[in-house]
């Protein structure tokens, strides 16, 4: 995006895009904080019947982890101006993120077929809502991933911005962290 500032790196040595993404992640964190709060509040009621966590979710978690590894790979490539490495890393990150989201929808299907319907128990409702909200944020990241990857694959060296790839990586790791916390909550409660 175009910056019009008198000077970049104006605040705490951060760029515009960094401030934007960090504040955005703060807002998303607040959103998940509220939803987990509501979850922890609601689970104390007597009618709460925990959802059996599908094994598929472990596989999905590994996929999201691999997506993050892909981003580390891409960032390292962007830093050293190794285009091939960046392209491979970005592709891996995107593909594994898509597999993660697809895996989540598959897990919902599994639960649904097993009779764990959305409205049959509050635990089910929360499970679907929390995982869907997270998947939605991964999808949002995939839109940004598409934009950056498209630029990188255009083979224009000037467009290969380590900052964009780096920030995308930060968001990927953040999504992994959020999922880690949510998943831990879902399997332990």
């Amino acid at each position: 995006m175009t910056n019009y500032a008198a000077s970049e790196k104006a605040f705490l040595g951060l760029s515009h895009a960094q401030v934007f993404v960090y504040v955005l992640m703060t807002v998303i964190s607040i959103l998940f904080l509220f939803i987990t709060n509501a979850y922890l509040f609601r689970m104390n009621f007597q009618d709460w019947a925990p959802v059996p966590i599908p094994t598929l979710l472990w596989f999905n978690t590994v996929c999201l982890l691999l997506a993050s590894v892909g981003m580390v790979w891409a960032k390292s490539g962007a830093k050293t101006e190794d285009h091939q490495k960046t392209k491979v890393g970005l592709t891996l990150a995107g593909v594994f993120a898509v597999v993660f989201v697809s895996g989540q929808t598959w897990a919902w299907q599994e639960l649904h077929v097993s009779g764990y319907f959305l409205s049959s128990n509050p635990a089910n409702t929360f499970f679907y809502l929390i995982t869907a909200l997270h998947a939605l944020h991964v999808l949002g990241g995939l839109v940004a991933w598409f934009v950056v990857t498209f630029k990188v694959f255009k083979e224009d060296a000037a467009i290969l911005q380590p900052e964009s790839v780096g920030l995308l990586g930060v968001y990927w790791h953040y999504m992994l962290l959020v999922w880690g916390v949510l998943f831990a909550m879902l399997i332990t409660t």
Binding site: M1, T2, N3, Y4, A5, A6, S7, E8, A10, F11, L14, S15, H16, V19, F20, V23, L24, T26, V27, I30, L31, F34, I35, A38, F41, R42, F45, D47, L118, S119, P122, T125, L129, L133
Partner: protein, 577 residues
Amino acid sequence: MDQNSATYEGQKMYDPKGWWDTYVFSQDHKIIALQYVCVALAIGLTGMFLSLLMRLQLGFPGLFESIDAGSYYQDVTMHGMIMVIYLLTALFLGGFGNYLIPLMLGCRDMAFPFVNMLSFWMYFLSVIILVASFFVESGPTGAGWTLYPPQSILEGTPGGDGAGIILMLASLAVFIVAFTMGGLNYITTVLQSRAKGMTLMRMPLIIWCIFLATFLGLLAFPALLVGAIMLIFDRVLETSFFMPEIFKGGEVLDYGGGSPVLFQHLFWFFGHPEVYIIALPAFGIISELISVHARKNIFGYNMMVWALIAIAGIAFIVWAHHMYVAGMNPYLGFFFATTTLIIAVPTAIKVYNWALTLWNANIKMTVPMLYCLAFLVTFLNGGLTGLFLGNVAVDVPLSDTYFVIGHFHMVMAVSPVLALFGGLYHWYPSVTGRMLDDRLGKIHFWITFIGTYLIYFPMHYIGFLGVPRRYYSNEQYDFIPQSVADLNQFITICTLIVGAAQFIMLYNLIKSLYKGAIAPKNPWDACTLEWQTLESPPGHGNWGEQLPVVYRWPYEYGLPSATADFVPQNVSDEQIT
């Protein structure tokens, strides 16, 4: 140089290609600000019209057959939601924020102009969805602006079993997305794009206010978003986040086990900061106007900034004072009553500082200054009744009466609107290059100011009598004396007059655009940067070739070494002498 394809500081600016790019899908912050203002004022007039319908029923019960109980509740609900969210939040942050942040900070545009444009169009979409609810079969929701479940999504509540409530919640969700896009832009621009020399403590107070209000919004709106999503689930997918076991006509509904109080917590965790999301920009406007039109530096700038930060922080730990009547642990009530009273301290600091700014000042009784003075007394009035309601023991008997309507409207409706009008009159010359008609402005001011007092002061008295708010009709209750009905007639007549007076302002805004006196570049002799642009009104890119450099704080009035009684922020000491 062609302003539309300028390259500044080695970076190419957004380049509008034609009329659509320049005026409709514009990425220029000034156009986006105007778009926000126009849409917000249009939907705000709708909200005002709904309040007139309400008042007609209350003043002359049964006279207008088209206003039945259902439509009355729909009017109440939509009036509240429109005014709080779609008018005031959008106008203060989307309108004033977009226009003033880049100009006052000395930058060319927002940090992310494209996202800024998306923010407006998402807001526009949210308004369209909201308005669409008037045209669905069951009409808009009539659940009250707090949308409390279970009643908000059940049959029997207007719009509850139709599309009304769904459209309301969907519109809110879209609005929150729009706000987040705009908010991220405001935060980034304030932190990153300030002109050379514009330190944080040299920023005009209105920028501080918008900045902090944006932070409040970004942290508070997610609570409403979560609440709205869960309520949509309950309504559409028959889940039971907020729905307890419900028996209807002897039948058990499919719901069960949900907690309506959970929704109240989510709603008010957003709802109370929302008060400050609206109040802080109003504070900011008053701080600017009072200093400029009293020709005096603002008293206690640092204290003002820290008071704002304190208000923004404490705003997050007072929300449950809206829920005393929902029932809560007495210790919790004590905690929230205490924090509520504590927030009065930084707020009082601001009021004292405004008053001290006026002390021995060279006060110009311009229209913006009239609005400032009106704001001060009105905010004080509304704030003081807030101290009553902040206490649990006083709030419980008064909470469901007209006392709350009186308090709320004085502090949260009339006060910000007075600031808003003051701001419109003050910055109109910067936006259009023309002055507003002073005489029409004063007529509008006096009718609005006196009129609103005649409307809302009596409501405190009605509230003390115990007249319940939210009731469609007060006729069947023995404890309500005839004098209340008389007073309600009087209030309704005043409301109609004040409502009609707003068209004076509207006429003034439109007429002055073509026939207003040509405004000098800095008509109020202000120090802040938005009046120091090369052209007036400022062109695309705001500053021509060179960005301004800031040498001083924004309230340099009455400097002994200067010949004029003000020194603009971009004038160095050498240039003064």
